[in-house]
């Protein structure tokens, strides 16, 4: 059995996520790997997106700071970055297409917060420009 060959860094990392409605839903900030229960090479299980994932890519003091901010934003003991399971990935091209709308994704939290608390309150936010 031979499948498509990809390079993680070149073809997947840092690419745009696009939801089922064509809306932008974050970047592939990192990828989650798991060794299958039966052993063998690791398999990609999820795309990690958002500040909590990006922080490790950036590293250094800035990365640590970003991670702290991300943890603070999530609140509680939740230390996991936002995950997008490979089960909802539709295709990988110049962007990564998803089969679900972004509201169903963990990556949408910050966007939703900004809309609900700030931008959504300005007059005309709900109408397309004319």
């Amino acid at each position: 059995m031979s499948g498509r060959v990809l390079e993680a860094g070149l073809h997947l990392l840092d690419r745009q996520l696009i939801d089922s409605n064509g809306r932008l839903a974050g970047k592939v900030d990192d990828l989650e790997l798991e060794v299958p229960s039966g052993g063998g090479p690791p398999v990609l299980t999820a795309i990690l997106a958002g500040p909590g994932a990006l922080s490790r890519r950036i590293g250094g003091r800035l990365g640590a700071w970003l991670e702290a901010v991300a943890n603070r934003l999530r609140g509680g003991d939740d230390r996991r970055p936002a995950r997008v399971s490979f089960g909802v990935v539709k295709g990988i091209g110049s962007a990564v297409d998803l089969s679900v709308p972004r509201v169903d994704l963990e990556t949408d939290r910050l966007e939703a917060w900004t809309r609900d608390h700030l931008i959504g309150h300005l007059p005309g936010a709900g109408h397309a420009p004319e």
């Binding site: 070149l10 063998g40 399971s85």
Partner: protein, 113 residues
């Protein structure tokens, strides 16, 4: 484990010799089936070299059209690149990956897609 844990790690053989750092991870889509994606992506091996600068530009695949200047510069930077089949990976530690055999017999990476 995250992919970023592999990136940049020093790849070392049994004799303690280094083949360089991981600058990319090759994946093959023939793992177990998942949702709308189909077969999942499995790690096939590691692309390793002394320098990783320029690795992300895409000139390793031999299909870029140019420009010649950048092609030559990146080719020179990455000329010592080697491929480590995942089968040879013994342990993954923080910042270090131990492989079986010797770094001397690591092959040059073939083209991907």
């Amino acid at each position: 484990m995250r992919l970023s844990d592999l990136f940049g790690a020093d790849v070392v053989d049994e004799a303690g010799r280094s083949a360089g750092h991981v600058h990319d991870v090759r994946l093959v889509q023939d793992g177990p089936l998942v949702g709308t994606f189909g077969a999942s992506l499995r790690v096939d091996g590691l692309l390793v070299g002394r320098r990783s600068i320029g690795a992300r530009l895409g000139y390793g695949r031999g299909q870029m059209h140019g420009p010649l200047l950048v092609k030559l510069a990146v080719g020179w930077l990455l000329h010592d690149g080697r491929y480590v089949d995942w089968g040879r990976v013994r342990t993954v530690e923080e910042d270090r990956i131990l492989i079986s055999g010797s770094v001397e017999d690591l092959p040059v990476p073939g083209p991907s897609s």
